[in-house]
Each structure stands twice: as structure tokens, then as C-alpha cells.
Symmetry: C2
Subunit: 488 residues, 2 copies
Amino acid sequence: MKVCRTRAIASTTSSRNKNANTTNFATYMNIFNKLHDYIDDNFELFVKRLTQWLSIPSISTLPANRKEVSEAALWILDQLEAAGLNDATVIETKGHPLVFGQKLVNPDLPTLLIYGHYDVQPVDPLEEWITPPFSPDIRDGAIYARGASDDKGQVLLVLFAIEAWTRTAGAVPVNIKVVLEGEEESSGDAIEKYVTANPEMFSADAVLICDTPMMSATQPSIITSLRGIVYSEIAMSGASSDLHSGSYGGVAPNPVHGLCLLLGKLKQEDGVIRIPELQKALDDSSAPTRAELDYWQQNGRAIRAELCRTMGVTQLVGETERPPLECIGLRPTLEIHGIRGGFVGEGEKTVIPAKALAKVSLRVPPGLDPDKVAEWFTKAVRDNSPQGYETETRILHIGRGLAVDPENSYFRAAVRALEKTYGKGPLLTREGGSIPVAALFNEILQIPVILMGFGLPDDNLHAPNEKFSLEQFRRGIKTVALFLKEIT
Amino acid sequence: MKVCRTRAIASTTSSRNKNANTTNFATYMNIFNKLHDYIDDNFELFVKRLTQWLSIPSISTLPANRKEVSEAALWILDQLEAAGLNDATVIETKGHPLVFGQKLVNPDLPTLLIYGHYDVQPVDPLEEWITPPFSPDIRDGAIYARGASDDKGQVLLVLFAIEAWTRTAGAVPVNIKVVLEGEEESSGDAIEKYVTANPEMFSADAVLICDTPMMSATQPSIITSLRGIVYSEIAMSGASSDLHSGSYGGVAPNPVHGLCLLLGKLKQEDGVIRIPELQKALDDSSAPTRAELDYWQQNGRAIRAELCRTMGVTQLVGETERPPLECIGLRPTLEIHGIRGGFVGEGEKTVIPAKALAKVSLRVPPGLDPDKVAEWFTKAVRDNSPQGYETETRILHIGRGLAVDPENSYFRAAVRALEKTYGKGPLLTREGGSIPVAALFNEILQIPVILMGFGLPDDNLHAPNEKFSLEQFRRGIKTVALFLKEIT
């Protein structure tokens, strides 16, 4: 039965999956029991190996951590070999290196490209971590460390699934290519440049990315779209140097106030982004599906309650008249990631600062061109800056969104793998985050991108006390092991 | 002539100035020539001694600099003795010490209390200083160092005036008490507590404070009012920890945005402070004099041009329909001194911060009660905070404003002293800054407060590259030396 379903779907998009026919049901079950046993028997060891990797502070955005980023790359290179991959290589780039490995078992079988990243986010505010970010701590069934869920835990679960196949069945059931980058959190373009220059090296039938959360530990989900991103820095300046507020307060430009006025105008309390071209473009861009609207309506109260619980708030903000999952997954957002200006030390200082700076990003719905959005945003900053200030917008990076066809055979294979592991079919969800590389693979390699992640919503990504559920880690390994068979 | 004028004015308020009658004009001129010569002959040495004091980083707001604050107190104690004062003492307090000294020459003569402060502001942003803040550098006729103008240079010019009298005439021509504090820049209350507990120790007929700027080096000015101050910290919080903007952006509270909305509402681009009780109270509080209005109107263009030049801007902001000197001297202001929240380091981080903080002060016109203003402000923060955030206002300190009666004999003596030194009568001006201790002396000791400062508008108070004009330093010594005689 299993085999038939696999073939029925796979045959609509691939002509190379004849091998699926040769596997009989008993053998299939036998392999899966062996895989499951192997994963369970070795799970403690898997956690130990994860702990090792999480101890390396591979913060790609900090020049001071360059050595540790390289160290994390070398560490994972060994794991590629341990998983049974060949040609494991560290590819030097102008930025942080790429790590590559592959196992080509049979040219008649499909080839799966696996992508992940071995770099992590910065850790500040450090004082809010319960245990140090690079001293992994296991408590309440989860491992706490920077990078646990984003993305080291999820890279390793894929490699351990491959390793389970290698050790149990002698080899993986499909052709595998793995590429890992070290600049995902620092917006480096090494992978983009390398993949663009060497597309044949990465040629595959689909790409698997495990770098996202699912809805909950009891409700698996899989992603059908990603938002793009425009990340910017707005610098505002007033007087030529800091001024005393007693001598000049009332007539001097105060760039902190100027930034407040500007940012408060660009997005008001109603959460609507005041960029006319963007609002106009939204009318024509991708809308939620009927199924999504129904699901959001039926589960509105529960979804709101769960979001409030996870965030530790009593109410949501923004465009509250819209379903919150539409706001997170499909609407554009404008968020201020940081602001600085003037004196914020201990005590008091009656200064009017000469300069202020804000880091602001826009998340871009999959149907919109982020280059255009960056243009509109820059214009809106110019148009809304108060009189008497110099304002400069620097676009630090632009990432494209992505929409996945849920009828695609690889996507459906992922759906089945999740269903088998979790005993429950996954919900199809929108991911509000941005994985620019997903759009890159989709565009350059022209292959479907499967975003099957095992994080949970309360994993504290990019925040203090990042964690990864060990049960999700275990199930992730099992699901990916299944998926590798489901796509043959 | 000189004597007559002095007596004519002094006699309206004091019965103790009989000695003035006994001085004949020739003796008077003789003394003044000697004083001037002494000051000019010793000026290089005075600058050297100022340089020494400015090298001590007595930043009172930084706990780490406690030792240096004490060191600055001991250094100036020696200068009190060098000036010929008796009873020179360091008075320990719970905070930084007070420095006291006096010279009681004759109970029939008036007693002048002199106030100053030996602590200085913090120095950040340090990288913007052309020469290090505690390595005084003389260039373009000014001495550059933190505290040069605010207030070490101005404390020393008073002590050097006293010293000139002691060395030239054997003693000062009036009774002198000097009190210096080390918490002016950190809002400590040591002096308030000590003066309140020991009013007889500070009993005097007037107090002289040299801690303010004058209009320009060619146009002396003297202050008729000070604004009060309410200094606060607004802390806003959203989610219970930092969040990933991809996963929660659009529905999560973002306290940086919340603060922008709040601060943008409390003061909009028109510069009007949106605190209804404050606006109502302003209708009844002190208005500019007819003379001020005329002066502002006649010199409107020049005043605007000079302010723009000093600040390095092309236009003023705020309530631009009002005369700028009214905005600076008499109107209330709301200024943001600093803001912090989220990630502002190198690179990017797509975080939604859980917390943000702003330091905000209001300058309060002399006619208004700052305690009331603090209450109204706290209420306005509460009323204008966006939904979905926790907002907390901490009032860090409150200082009262002050209005000086320009008909007072001590004030008129200061006017004459300035006129004689500068060859031009001083303009009566409003000081936008706050010297809470001035209001304290006025209230507790019930004596007039003479605010005769020798700083210049471009002294970069509280900012990088603070300086004090050496010519103002010299003229300040001469003016104060004259003033001491003018009040007898």
C-alpha cells in the first residue's frame, strides 16, 4: 500500500523512481524497524554529538568569532563523513566556508539536495540567558544553547537520518548532496555566488531544508510559503554635535525624537504600514487559500491563545482585525530590531544627541518583489522624515520570498513522512521568516524546495535561551529517514 | 561717580554698606589697577592651575570614578586656602563631599555666598573628542576638556578673583562663604540636605553662581530666570523574551515601536507638548516681558542665524512660530536624551526586543511647580501608551526653576561689573537650563541668586569637545573681582 502511494505520486513528476517497485512491503517494514531501533539505540550519543557542536560559538556576524565559525565547519565536515557521505569538503569563500558532501548511489534514483547552516545568531542580551549560550544545558526535555534549533540541531537530525540508513541498510535509498553554509545569520552571499557559478555541482530533483518550526509537538506542520525580507539601517542626524538640552532644548533637532516621529508614521498603532506603493501592490499579490481562511476562522481563538501564551502577552497587537496567522505568514511587516541614540548609561545626562540609528526590516509576502519594496520603503523614509533632519537609509540586504506547490510529489512525500512519525497529518502553514537561500535554489536550480522543520514556536530563536526539544530531535531524525525512502 | 551709583542702588536694600562711603575714588581706581595687573600678570599660572584640575576625571554619575571625584574635592580645597579663605573643610556626606571655606572680614559688610560644583558630566561618545576629555588642550584661544566651562573653569575664576583681592588688598572687600558640591551632574541631594539642616552656616545676603553661558564674547548677558526640570526614565516591555521577527512579526508587541508611538504622541512635529494639564497651566504662568518681546522681534533673524550657526543646522525645529529664545528660556520642553532597545551592534539581527527604554526630561518654566509637571507627565505617558505594552515611568529627579528680580541691588551690582569689564551693558536673558540648587538657596536661605556666568553658547556643555574661552576666563576673574567691590 505504502509503495503504491509513493509510486502513484512520484510518477507524476519523475520517471526515475523504478526502484520503488522492487521494494516489497516486508523488506520495507524490516528496514524501518531497523532504522527506528538504530535511532533509539543511538539517541543518547546523538544528543552528545549535538552538545559538542553547540559548544562552538559560530556567530557569523561577529568578526571576532571567525575562528569559531571555521571550527564549527570542520566539526560538521567529520559528521558528513560519519554519515557515509563522500567527497566531504570545506569550500573556502571570500566569507565563511561552505561544507559539501554527497552520496550518489544510483543515477536512476532521484537526487535530494540538503541545505542547512552551521552559523548562529549573536547572543546578547547575554545576562538574560539562564545557562550560558555555548554551554548546552538539558532541562525539561530540551537542549538549551544558541543554535540548538536554528539550525545546528536540525542540520544534525538530517545527517543522523542519513547515518541511520548507512549503518542499517548499507547506504541511503536516494542520491544525496549536502551543502551547509556559515553566513545564513550574517547575510553573506558566499553560497549564492558559489551555487550560481556551479549549478551542475548542486543539480538535484528537490531540496530539503530543515530550518523552521512546526506548529506544536502534537500537531506537525509543513510550510507552503516563506516571506522575503528587506533589512535596513536608518541613520538620522541633527546638529553637528551633541547639545545641552537646557541651552538648546525646544529649538534643536533631536534625532531620537525625529526617528520616533518617522517610525511612528511608517507604522501606526493599527499596524498598517504606511507605504502607499506597498499597500497598492498587496491588492494584487497572493491571498490566503480558502482552506487557510477556514482553518484560521475555526481555530481563531485557540491560535490567538497559543500565540499569547508563547509570547507571554495578554493581547496581540497590529492588524488585529485580521487572522494572526495571516499577519505572520502573508502580510508584510515592518519591525524595528533595534534603536540607539544619546545617553542610556547609568544616571542622567541632559544631552540632545546629534545622531540616532534604527535597524528596521520589512517582511515581504511571497508574491511581492523585495527589490521594489526596498525602493518604496526608501522613498517612504524620505517622504516621512521630519523637517530639519538628515536621514539616510542603507539597505543591508534583500531576500526573496517563496511559495511551494503543495501538489508537488516531494512535498507530498514529506507530508506522508510526517504523518507516519507523528500519527497525524501535518497542517500546511505559512512561515513568516525568510530563508533567502530557499528562493535561490528555487530560482537557480529550478527545483521544488521542501521546508520541513522540527523546531517549536517557543524555541526562542534569535533570543536568549534558545532551545530544541529532544523529542522533536528524535522524531526529526525518524521523519527524515522515512522521507528519504518516500521520495524514491 | 562710581561710588555714588553703587551706594544709590545698594542703599535701597541693605543698611550695611556704610564702608562704601569711606572709599574714595582714587583709592578705588588704585585697587582696581592693582587687581587687573595682578590678574594679567598671573594669568598663565591661573590657566596652568585650571589645567591641573581639569585633568581629574570627577564624573560624579559613574560609581567607578568615586576616587577621582574625591581627588577633585581635595584639589579645590587647597585653592580655597590659596585664595585666603579660612575654615576650608571637606564635609563628608552620604554622596560626594561638599567643600566649604569662608572669610568673614567685617560683620557690618554684606556676606556673599558663592556656589559652584567640582563634578563633571560623563564623556561619551568618547570617540568624538578631538583631544581626550581629561587631557586639557589649548587651541584657538580656548581650553578643551570635560568640565572646562561646566563648572571647573567658572569655579576657579571666582576663587582667583578672591585670591587677587587677598594678594593685592590684603583681604576681600566683603564677607565670603564658598560652598562647592560634587553631585550637580548626578542629581545627588547631599547639598540640599546639608544646607537645609545647617541654614545658619550658609546665611548670607546673596548667592553668586557662575555656571551659565553668556550671549557672546562681545555681548555680555546675565540671567533673570532658570527653568526647572523633571528627569525621567520610561521603560516599556512587550513579550516575556526577545522574539524572532519572522515568527512573530506583525502580531507581537515591539516596545521600540511602542516607545516611538508614545514619544511621537507626547511631542509631535509641531513641537507642542501634548500634556493637557501642562498646556492649561502655561496660560497662567510667567510670560516674557515687553522688553524681551521687543528685543526678540528686533533681533529675530540674527538670533535664529546665530543659533543655527552654533548648532550646525540650517533650520530650527519645534514651535517655530514662537521666538526661539522664548522656546529655550520660557517654554516647557520635552527632550529625549537617549533611547535603547534591541540589537544595534554590527551586522543584522531580526529580533523583536522584549524591552526598550528612553530617558526623557521636561524643562519647566519658572512659574510652574515641577512636582505637578511630573505628575501630569506620568499620567500622559500612561494615557498615551499603546495597547498591549507595559509602561513604567520612573522620575529620576525634579528641580525647581527660579526667577530673579532685576531690581535687586546685587543683581544691579553684577550688571555694573559686567558693563565695566566688557565696556557694554549686559542683556537680561532667560536660561533654559536648570540649576536646582539656585532654587534651593532662594527658598531655604531667602536670598537673591545672582546667575552671572562666563561660558559661551558654543562651549559644548555635556557634549564632546567641551571648552572654555581663555579670554572669558580672564574677564570672568576681573568681573567677579569688581563685583565683590560693587556689592559693598
